[in-house]
Amino acid sequence: MSADFQLAEGSLDALFAAMTAAGRRIVGPRASDGRVEIGEVRSAGELARDGRHSVASAKVAAFPRVEKILSYRAEGRELAVEDPALPARPTVLFGLTPCEARGFGALSAILNWGTPDRFFNARLEQTTVVAIACTRSDEACFCTAVGGGPDHPGGSDLLLHPLTGGGYEVEVLTEKGRALVALAADRFQPPEGTARTAPAQVEAGFQMAEVTAKLPRRFDEPIWTEQSLRCLGCGACAYVCPTCACFDIQDEADARGGVRLRCWDSCAFRIFTLHASGHNPREKQGERWRQRLYHKFSYMPERLGVLGCVGCGKCSRACPVDMDLKEHLTEIAKGS
């Protein structure tokens, strides 16, 4: 929590200019007709900073919706396979919420489970995460219940703490962070100890320990069907989730050649587990909803030692039928 630097409000633009000059692509939350999106921001002014929960997740920087993993071409009878060049564009994710920043940890854990994911890693390697501590939260937030918090440093390279009088105190957390500071060293002043704006109060609502403890024995209970009655089986929750990593491999080809793509996929879709035979191990929506929760709150902790959730509440906000994750987890924790 100790501050390394102080950054004046007015210095942000200079910092942006410096980053751009250094060839960094700056991506962050920006307001766009009523919504907050994740996209390129050219100046600090474009940045959405208050109550800036973006609909979609910043994970796209390292785990894009669609990425090419190889291409091939028919040469006579043979196929010539080409590896795409690994992404090299350095990116700064600026102004993320701490929960989003934490998301990269879980995402990395699962994508690198077993074989390292060279595509993801290469993109993450090029990415610097600058988070800004939250001074507000909404009813979907529950970061505090999953080991995070409004000013949690996890996953960030730099963490900015808003000051009451404007500007930020800067925590440098990694080498990447240090490198970023170096780009505009003169703008980073020693901290003056000005008061920080109080971090948002995010009430947990439930004990995660309760959930993880109860899940294994509640597998066969009707609660999953009950909770998912209104679930439409779309993929909104998975696609906005900072930690959802499921993907599908698609070849787009014709007689002469094609490309192999990695595309997002969602366990909520009926066809996610549909076998060619017609058999579907998760035929019912309730089974798919249960899988989503178990994967995040039981399997990942068990196998990877990390929760598959950072409590950002994006899924709850994005859900067309208001499937509220915090509420559902609270219910699970309450049960026997």
């Binding site: 894009p64 919706r65 669609v66 990425e67 090419k68 291409s71 071409r73 992404p87 787009e252 080809a253 014709d254 002469r256 050649g257 094609g258 490309v259 793509l261």
Partner: protein
């Protein structure tokens, strides 16, 4: 998907742009009409590639989208005149589908000058030749359908 270029792009040697035209035609009228163009030795430009279907009623609008996705610069859809359908009403159903689809394409800003619908009967060999030449010339004027081809590969990191 990035379109893989056809092996030998049609070229008249002059180096001018040779559009790729895909035609979806019914077997009983337009395909036969195009046969008649052949037997009458009427010449037309060689840019068109014909896909033969039993009836215009069989022409799934998806096929038109796929033709654009494959890099076609222009599309011809043709079958029997009203009342002449070999299957009595396939072309009537097709006509309704086209009315709706064409409107929708326009609404989404797809260039309608690149999609031509026509009735060409088995007796209209000359009309087929005129149709193909007219479409080929128009699309050559318009140039390659860059706007659509720009979609291919866009959105892939």
């Amino acid at each position: 998907m990035e379109p893989t270029p056809t092996r030998a792009e049609p070229s008249n040697g002059t180096g001018t742009f040779q559009p790729k035209i895909t035609a979806f035609v019914c077997n009983w009228c337009t395909y036969a009409g195009a046969d008649l163009t052949g037997t009458s030795r009427i010449k037309y430009q060689s840019n068109v590639r014909v896909i033969r279907l039993p009836c215009t009623g069989r022409i799934d609008f998806m096929l038109l989208l796929k033709a654009f996705a494959r890099g076609s610069d222009g599309i011809i859809v043709s079958g029997c005149h009203p009342n002449d359908c070999h299957y009595t009403s396939g072309n009537y159903h097709a006509r309704r589908r086209w009315i709706v689809f064409r409107d929708l394409l326009e609404f989404t800003g797809i260039d309608l000058r690149r999609v031509t619908f026509a009735w060409v009967s088995a007796a209209e060999g000359a009309k087929w030749a005129e149709l193909v030449d007219e479409v080929t010339n128009r699309v050559r004027e318009l140039g390659p359908y860059r706007e659509y081809q720009a979609l291919l590969g866009a959105g892939i990191e």
